[in-house]
Subunit: 134 residues, 2 copies
């Protein structure tokens, strides 16, 4: 699978990107595909996956894995390093960042002799709106 020298703009690619842009939380590929189909702007599932891969590679989109093993994608509003606060009920995600954690991970790693450290932090809870409607 050679990376194309240049990318071409297509209806399908635009559809995937714009739907992701219009979404607020994390969404699965299957979910995105279903919505595109529902709204009549159909795109093959394969193509949805291919565009998502490209976007993740380009750093435009974040990907994470559910405990259930499903991949979720989300447009990054902020290109800088950040983490997510996800609502377990409605899926809304807030991007958060903080020196505190960054410092902590660095310190812990150093303490144990680890280098080239990278980290993933996901905080899940129930957002205000969902706990109100519960």
């Amino acid at each position: 699978v050679t990376t194309p020298r240049r990318a071409r703009s297509t209806r399908q690619g635009a559809a995937v990107e714009s739907l992701l842009e219009a979404s607020s939380g994390f969404r699965s590929a299957q979910d995105l595909h279903a919505e595109l189909r529902r709204r009549g702007d159909a795109v093959g599932l394969t193509t949805v996956y291919r565009h998502l891969q490209g976007l993740v590679g380009a750093g435009t989109v974040d990907m994470l894995r559910t405990t259930a093993g499903e991949a979720l994608y989300r447009q990054c509003a902020d290109a800088r390093h950040h983490h997510h606060l996800v609502c377990r009920s409605c899926g809304t995600a807030v991007e958060v960042s903080g020196q505190a954690v960054e410092r902590w991970t660095g310190a812990v790693a150093r303490e144990h002799g680890f280098t080239d450290v990278d980290h993933t932090i996901e905080v899940v809870g129930t957002c205000r709106a969902c706990s109100a409607s519960a």
Copy 2:
């Protein structure tokens, strides 16, 4: 799938548990299954999965997902809340904990109106031994 009223002790269950106990890092079900088979103490892959599920449910074992979508299991040395510092090369995992992160996640959640907060933190890097042998 009804949960058995009581558990029975079997050769297979013991094999899975003891191998996990003897392992230091995170291991996949397939990996554990292969090693059991290799050492002649064969157990069906299905059974390995079933025991791992049980152990995770009992809180004796930690499970996490690779970015690639594979589930990894590890015996918890420490039953208290903790996180992992995993070596990306050899898989060795160190259990770490710290007030700093706990406080940070709590603060961030509160700040955004989230409740019932839970979090996952995985720090991956290259351990001393691996960076030395590289």
